[in-house]
Point group: C2
């Protein structure tokens, strides 16, 4: 059986990467990486579904054991992507999907260069602005700040392997699936296994 | 408009790459590269469809002008893949499909490193052998020789970007389309254009 791959979806907020990832999970043989956190569960949050809730001691031990693909402290709480589960699922042939903010994605690429980084983009800044305005949760000033952040995030594009413009959701999902399929057809890393397979037949 | 890309399909004979390429051409914005040859047209062969039939002088001039992506002499006739038409179609946004034997494919990669090389594989040597036997056009000895050639050709896999196992034809076509789609989402070569596009909006 072929080894699974790690697909990291990232990009500015509001681009719909969460929705895309949830759809991708409907494909059999696809598994969503769940983060570890030291913060307390909120109402409705389930251990192993939304997060793995761990103690600070467990978290620190995992850091020491180099057990994270990436980790960060945010407002006094620690978060991390555990290596173990992702590796186990990939070894079992599952593709692992990970949705994460941009700095985390770049950390993962350093820790695990085989990771495939996909940058989810809005069709345009105007479109993104309109989407956020429609939600009505942010002031014009907040929106302007966010647009600046988005633009500076987009400058990180060259660090990613693929871009995915989320204009039409169905199309973006199909394109994400194409990327995943194509990655499984790359000779890099699997050419020798294939050659051996045909040779053994002789 | 995005620039088109050059997709080179190659692999051992009998793997069905011709059928796959013909199906891919049904997609709008896809163009098949037609070779140049100095040999005379055979019955039913059309200029510009099966080959561009040229004189030896025209061929030699094209060689001198570095006008081929690859070229070779076979049994006293010269063949070549003209650069000009492929480049024109790519500039116009078309993907260019090229079906070619393996040495030609590797020549193209040298002349035009942006070319995407796809190696079409049989599901197994046994399966390939059965297909050829069914045709009934070759002796057992010829088949055995051909299997040896196939195996030595498969050893060239690491030179290619992708492999495509033609087990189920429909699936192979869908996978080829996925590869083409994914290649258009690579940040390599297009990240700066994208960044500029978002920046201009500001």
């Amino acid at each position: 059986m072929d080894q699974g791959k790690l697909f990291v979806f990232s990009g500015p907020s509001g681009t719909g990467k969460g929705t895309i990832c949830r759809e991708l999970l409907k494909e059999p043989g696809t598994w969503l990486s769940v983060s570890i956190t030291t913060r307390a569960p909120r109402a409705g949050e389930e251990h192993g579904v939304h997060y793995y809730f761990v103690t600070r001691e467990e978290y620190d031990r995992t850091v020491e054991e180099d057990g994270f693909l990436e980790h960060a402290e945010i407002y006094g709480n620690a978060y991390g992507t555990p290596k173990k589960y992702a590796m186990e699922h990939m070894a079992a042939g599952d593709d692992v999907i990970l949705e994460i903010e941009m700095q985390g994605a770049l950390q993962i690429k350093k820790a695990y260069p085989e990771a495939i980084l996909i940058f989810v983009l809005p069709p345009s800044l105007k479109e993104l602005r309109d989407r956020i305005r429609k939600r009505g949760t942010e002031t014009e000033e907040q929106i302007a700040t966010r647009m600046k952040t988005t633009l500076s995030e987009i400058e990180l594009l060259p660090e990613y392997d693929y871009f995915l413009i989320n204009d039409d959701l169905e199309e973006a999902i199909a394109t994400a699936r194409s990327i995943m399929k194509a990655e499984h057809c790359k000779t890099a890393g699997s050419a020798q296994t294939l050659i051996d397979r045909y040779k053994e037949e002789q």
